[in-house]
């Protein structure tokens, strides 16, 4: 069977499976969850992760020896596309399956892989990411959370993490903490795995400008990480943290774009309903938004064309992507409000489309800030993409 036939078969298989499983109790999950809507049905979405696992739809890109299906990039993309097309909910398991799992496969011990990978694959253990701190946002290396080794080799952790997505729904957290108290910047950091349900950890939700609270502060006051929950060696945390961020690239991008297409469709429907579909200025903006979607699609295909070679160098098309989509999305939110006119200001939860578009307008303000602000993205592009001089560092 050639790859084209196999891909077509997979496409049909995913579509059929979604149709038969995203139904009944799960039907209310359609198009729900994901950034800006993470508080929707957390318990049910965890059950959905187990449903996916039972169907064999987790670990698609993981190697076989880690329990994965080792599918090529093109086939993983097909899964993400069909998943999004069917309205598959935002993945509660993403941080475990998409970030920590690949990191443990690359940098973990056999015991760590054995301990965590099967539960991640089964959809029974959920993770969150403890990177950012009040003093370590764009300057991520300025981590102050510290971990001190106890006599038995365990690590006792003091400090604070912030903007931790889904911490209130997760059982475990991976943390970068300073294990060398004399160190500064990205040296002397270590990568630790910690259970959240223990004395010395407190999770406080942060209420956002859209009224939701899907990010948290996580306080560590003498909480423990077991000796064998150090990934790699002490002091190697920055490299591991960066390895992990490398796994973010690409695969779910086309799925995200389907969500964007749906949102633009809502905008167009709303333009018709609100009687502004003939307004020339609105028409040009809608057309521009649509052109932006075409650009994103082809840009993602360029990224994926290079994704099978595992070179660590990000190409220029990959470097622009986060900046491009996040600013596009922010503009879409503004366009949606302009199309709604005065109704944009009126909250009416029975009007689902309007509610979702208001959500896009408000939550997309976060898009250009999290995972590298616009300004940091531009620095990275200038330095890594164009080879311009690095930003001078302060001395403190």
């Amino acid at each position: 069977m050639n790859s084209e036939t196999r891909e077509q078969q997979l496409r049909t298989e995913v579509a059929d499976w979604m149709k038969n499983h995203l139904t009944g109790d799960f039907a209310c999950l359609k198009y729900r969850g994901g950034p800006g809507d993470e508080e929707a049905f957390p318990v049910l979405r965890k059950a959905w992760e187990r449903e996916l696992a039972a169907g064999g739809w987790t670990g698609l890109g993981w190697p076989a020896e880690a329990g994965g299906r080792a599918l090529p990039v093109a086939e993983q993309v097909i899964f993400h596309e069909e998943y999004a097309r069917a309205g598959g909910p935002g993945r509660m398991g993403h941080i475990g399956e998409g970030l920590l799992g690949p990191t443990l496969i690359a940098c973990g011990t056999p015991a760590q892989r054995e301990r965590y990978l099967p539960r991640i694959l089964a959809g029974t253990q959920f993770w969150c990411q403890g990177y950012s701190e009040p003093g370590a946002g764009s300057d991520l290396a300025n981590v102050r959370t510290r971990a001190v080794r106890e006599a038995d080799g365990a690590w006792r952790v003091h400090g604070q993490k912030v903007w931790t997505s889904l911490a209130h729904d997760a059982e475990w957290i991976f943390v970068i903490a300073r294990t060398d108290p004399e160190s500064r910047g990205n040296r002397g950091l270590s990568f630790l795995l910690m259970p959240l349900d223990q004395p010395g950890i407190e999770i406080r939700p942060i209420k956002q400008l859209n009224g939701g609270a899907e990010f948290n502060e996580v306080f560590f006051d003498g909480a423990l990480a077991a000796a064998d929950d150090l990934v790699g060696v002490a002091g190697d945390g920055w490299r591991i943290a960066m390895t992990l961020l490398g796994f973010e690239r690409g695969m779910s991008t086309l799925g995200q774009q389907m969500q964007f297409i749906r949102e633009l469709d809502w905008v167009i429907d709303t333009a018709h309903e609100a009687g502004v579909a003939h307004d020339p200025a609105i028409r040009q903006r809608i057309a521009r938004a649509w052109a932006g979607l075409r650009v994103m699609r082809y840009n993602a295909l360029r990224m994926l064309a290079g994704a099978d070679d595992s070179s660590a160098v990000l190409s220029r098309e990959a470097l622009i992507y986060k900046y491009y989509w996040s600013n596009w999305h922010r503009d879409l939110g503004q366009l949606a409000m302009d199309v709604l006119g005065p109704n944009a200001n009126i909250v009416d939860i029975t009007d689902e489309k309007r509610t979702r578009l208001q959500g896009v307008f408000l939550f997309s303000r976060a898009d250009t800030i999290y995972a590298g602000t616009n300004e940091i993205q531009l620095n990275i592009m200038a330095e890594r993409g164009l080879g311009m001089p690095r930003e001078p560092r302060g001395t403190s």
């Binding site: 040009q284 064309a305 531009l378 592009m381």
Partner: protein, 400 residues
């Protein structure tokens, strides 16, 4: 759809970049615009005659290399990057593209000569992205031996110098219901007046062509009716795609010139490239450039995948080209403007190159589709849902 370039495609791109860097540096461009009416004949002989670039997208059956739109956009990008003063766009992307649709021995003979680099040619096509038969300004009146053509064609690319002139005209004949036909015109014909226009963008010569009852024989007709209209419509979109690629190259050069200049220029004891205010503007140029490159490569691949070189151009490919050209219009103008700004005072001089690109960017943004015309076409597809498959094509698979 696979957007990875093959080895052969990478070779075409790199070879073009190398040849043009050597043969069309800014000194050569400046010489051409100051002394030879924006035309570098030696370069044209090299590209067409020695290197065979004119045959790139000409079908193999008539002596070309038979390559696709993707290879052509890679080449056009390099042409735009160096503002190559050759009639390549008019010969290959206009005349050649139109002739390839005519399916006649006569048209094929011209294609062979184009592929061999023996002739330059142009098509007097209006600069609209969408071909409209009603807007054809030349009328053909039947005579005893053929036709007499009258009318004025504004802004014909390389119109003053082309060896072959292809003119669309409406035939004044009730039986033929004002059908459009494509005529080949002998450039020495009586009644044909070719006037070079003075243009802000001196790197691309344009001419006004007046036909005052120019007599042609029946055999001058290359195509008529539906076939002629299809050829013109398809050529207009193909030209828009080729121009978008050329604009991409021009924009890239604006960034490259700016990077080189800001790395050298020292103020306050530092290269100005180290200032964040400068870095961010360069990075923003890079964002627009790579977005445009994605749009151009995607549209070219979509053109090839849909078999548009021989068949009809489906709605989703038109939308891709509209996206590519609109994006390229904006990107090239933005990058040229930023290049001038970031060069500071010298950016305002005749001596430095940003001005050449600034003018080309402006001119090409109004040729074969302004941004607002193209966005209007997209709006019709998306908002008025004139393309029932628009959504489906947006969602179509990414399988490689």
């Amino acid at each position: 759809m696979n957007l990875a370039l093959s080895e052969e495609q990478t070779m075409i791109r790199d070879a073009a970049a190398e040849v043009l860097a050597e043969r069309s540096p800014s000194t050569a461009v400046r010489h051409a615009i100051e002394h030879t009416a924006g035309r570098d004949d030696a370069l044209w002989r090299t590209l067409g005659g020695e290197l065979g670039w004119c045959g790139l997208s000409v079908p193999e059956a008539v002596g070309g290399a038979g390559l696709g739109a993707l290879e052509l956009v890679l080449l056009m990008e390099q042409m735009g990057r160096r503002l190559a003063c050759v009639p390549y766009f008019s010969t290959v992307c206009l005349a050649g593209a139109a002739l390839a649709q005519c399916e006649s021995g006569q048209a094929d003979a011209w294609l062979t000569r184009i592929a061999n680099g023996e002739v330059s040619a142009t098509l007097a096509l209006h600069s609209a992205p969408r071909f409209e038969a009603d807007a054809v300004p030349v009328r053909a009146v039947q005579t005893a031996n053929g036709y007499a053509l009258s009318g004025t064609l504004d802004q014909v690319f390389d119109g003053a110098t082309a060896d072959l002139l292809i003119v669309p005209a409406r035939i004044d004949n009730e039986a033929e219901a004002q059908a459009v036909a494509l005529f080949e015109i002998d450039v020495t014909s009586t009644g044909l007046i070719r006037t070079p226009l003075v243009t802000l963008d001196a790197t691309r010569p344009l001419a006004r062509i007046e036909l005052r009852a120019v007599e042609v024989s029946r055999s001058a007709v290359l195509a008529t009716g539906r076939k002629a209209e299809r050829s013109l419509s398809r050529t207009a979109w193909f030209a828009a795609l080729a121009l978008a690629a050329e604009q991409l190259g021009g924009a890239q050069q604006c960034l490259d010139l700016t990077l080189a200049y800001t790395a050298e220029r020292v103020q306050f004891g530092r290269a100005i490239a180290s200032f964040q205010a400068v870095k961010h503007r360069c990075a923003q140029m890079m964002v627009e450039l790579e977005a445009t490159r994605s749009a151009v490569l995607g549209a070219a691949r979509a053109w090839d995948d849909a078999g548009c070189t021989t068949g009809a151009v489906p709605q989703n490919v038109l939308a891709d080209i509209a996206t590519a050209k609109a994006t390229a219009n904006d990107t090239f103008r933005f990058c040229a403007q930023e290049a001038i700004q970031l060069h500071g005072g010298v950016g305002f001089t005749w001596e430095y190159d940003p001005q050449l690109y600034f003018k080309r960017a402006q001119a090409s943004s109004a040729q074969f589709g302004t941004t607002s015309q193209l966005l209007s076409i997209l709006a019709e597809q998306m908002i008025d849902r004139t393309a029932p498959d628009a959504d489906a094509s947006m969602l179509e698979g990414a399988a490689q």
